[in-house]
Symmetry: D2
């Protein structure tokens, strides 16, 4: 049974469903439904509610990974969507104890997921050449107390990768076709990699370089996600949906000679 403690990232939600994501500290927090003293929530169990100074109820709980990605992480860059990220976790077989390489830290959304899933004995190495992105992602990981699981590396992938024998790798950067060979060279035999790209031209470029790399088991996919209106008597999809996020290319390293 979880107890909310100082520093936790929590979600406040109004009765109309409006959400706010905030770090739990002893301070006032203002919403259009009034002001609450966050300190009152410390020590409480999630799922309760608090009254604002204008007598509105806000419920509070611990956000899921999906909510953190979609709503909490600052959209400084393209984030990866839960539908894609969840699939990648299974497809790459991310489990506890793994050493995972991420090329392109970006917003840190994927870094956070990887940090959760590799566990205390696993490790994520994430490379990003833009210092400010790396720093922001590092702060994000600290918000969730997972900094011991992640190694932030600020450099260009062009300068190579020092570590070896990764159990899995994810590439989420421009022109991944230029760096896939470098990444594959750092993988253990049999390890899986995933490449996330928005355009069909990039898919073609990545598949082309794969023809000369020791990889197999290639898959290219896209995932469409459609929400429905919450109405049992008039059930129907929402009028609008996300039309595209990314194509996902995955494969496995094989020993040369196969």
């Amino acid at each position: 049974m979880k107890i909310l403690k100082q520093g936790d990232i929590i979600c406040l939600v109004s009765e109309e469903g409006k959400k706010w994501f905030v770090k739990l500290e002893s301070k006032n927090f203002s919403t259009h439904k009034g002001i609450v003293n966050l300190g009152e929530i410390i020590g409480k169990r999630p799922g309760g509610f608090i009254l604002t100074n204008t007598n509105n109820r806000l419920s509070y709980f611990l956000p899921s990974l999906e909510e953190i990605i979609l709503h909490y992480i600052k959209r400084s860059t393209q984030i990866i969507y839960p539908k894609d990220a969840g699939y990648l976790m299974l497809k790459l077989g991310i489990t506890q104890g793994m050493r995972v390489l991420e090329v392109g830290t970006g917003s840190g959304a994927m870094t956070l997921l990887l940090a959760y899933y590799v566990g205390d004995n696993g490790r994520v190495f994430t490379i990003e050449e833009r210092k400010e992105f790396s720093k922001k992602a590092e702060n994000l990981i600290k918000d969730f107390g997972l900094e011991n699981r992640v190694c932030f590396i600020v450099k260009s992938i062009q300068d190579g990768i020092n570590e070896k024998d990764f159990d899995a790798a994810i590439l989420d950067l421009k022109e991944p076709e230029k760096y896939l060979e470098t990444v594959v060279n750092c993988l253990s035999s049999g390890a899986s990699f995933g490449v996330v790209v928005p355009t069909t031209n990039q898919v073609s470029a990545v598949l082309s370089v794969c023809e000369n790399l020791p990889v197999f088991n290639l898959e290219v996919c896209e995932i469409l996600f459609r929400k429905y209106k919450i109405n049992p008597d008039r059930l129907r999809p929402n009028d609008v949906m996300v039309g595209h996020t990314a194509y996902i290319i995955t494969g496995r390293k094989i020993e040369r000679g196969m």
Copy 2:
């Protein structure tokens, strides 16, 4: 760096991409590409290859969660698809240390995922009234050495649930609308639940009962997954795709009074 050991579930793959999933033991294994002595693989690193008695090369590696679900688990019942399972993990926020309830063990595919993701300190309670399904799933979990994380309960959900304060719950059984209240009662405040159903009528039925339960943040979605042909010069989706697996309904428990 992983070393393959006796009892590991491995995947053999031919040069044409045909896959076999098998438990690693000192015994012969027959394929249409010839016979291999599995014992030779024990102690090797994944990603290598072995020669059959007819001189064909088979590569071997450790299967991902996606491959285990789609290819290894016996299809004694409807399995949950990786696209759906991966999303549910994020949406329900399954992380290490959680106590998770599963109603409807079925093939054990979701049980296995949950066992992986809750880690050594977490626990999965999975209820199934058909003894043979429960037994099969238990053997599956043992194949992956995760039996300490899972509690198999053979009974009808109609007889109630003894445990309390689950951090998340998944319902994957017929007529989930009849048992959702029982499940919600066993959740911690703020905990998430997910219901997996194949038909729109079931979606409506579940949404209807939700109107009288202490739940909020309801979402209904479906996920479409489309593969592309691996051809950089003629990139196009496969001619055929899976048209439907399940609708996913998720929500959160809230304290009564909100």
Copy 3:
């Protein structure tokens, strides 16, 4: 070779792609790109351009059926989308000379299509109980000079249908399950019908009544339409797409006794 004449519905388009749909008359027409004298276009061939008083070029052409439906028809009610309407035309086999029944004139979008496709020797009977909708649709049909092909009937479908032996029928109204029998009774043997509904509950309701009607060859479908960005070097779908318009139920009347 078409020549634009007074009364034609034309489309003006700016160099940025902004479109205006307007009836061709000798009068000024104002846009944010300046004013044009529409009279100057009369007698010209479509595909040319005209200068505004602020020296901006507007191209003019005759809109397609798709543009008329999506952009010209006033959205007084839900319109049918081109992706759905085009399929229905083929599925119901609408060809010249047919007598077609439409129940639910609505905006007149489908009425207009049917009027085009049945030709000079065909006839569309369209029933609508809301007088103002029927009148608006009638004006729409007159805009395109097809009024001789359409018979507008202002009454409730509850009061029955006098005509018989229709070659096809389309139902686009609330609670079509209540009136499908009436419609089927007015069809020729072997004639097709189509029902357009937004919700899954309505699909179930329509399929239920079909069980006791002399119909066969039932099909339920939905059509998803996704646009791509016009960029050859970065080809990818639009970020947002329409998630849902309607479910389409079609079938054929059969003689009782089959």
Copy 4:
């Protein structure tokens, strides 16, 4: 009220829904449900039934355009699907009296639709370099008595097009990017064209050449079609669906200078 006459293409359907498409003549026709004398149907109204020599009932009716395309036309080549063809008809604004160019007769499926929709006063010019395909398509058009509306041209599009001032054009051949300029030159100002291609590489190639052609209003789309099971109490999509048929590129010719 239609009466079936010699030479009509009809559809026979068994009580289980199995369909046969056949030309109506005074001869026996064999099915696994027994033999019928087709001559008995001549003069009857569609929608009735006939008994086989083994006393099974077969219903007969006139197939829709959708059934003709999907089931009657010999699959000597890739056909265009109803979902795509119906949309193209509206998007290109095909109406009676139009002169339409088709480059790539192929199976004749699109030729047939165009012939139906342009009416007695319209005309379809269809170019195909493979003589046997052109001949087969010509026979198809004759089966439906529309040969006066279609001009079959056996030659390579590389040899140019003699006719001018088409109201619309459809390209359905390999490497359409090589011939789009030729086609656009034959269009009236303001006329629309559509290109049907299976791969993303072709979409990019076509969009690239468009950058130097007098065209505007470009659209690239794909259409997904999903059927549902006919079960009101357990409504759900079919397990399998078509994953891809074609990308559709459309645009309009504009006078040079715009």
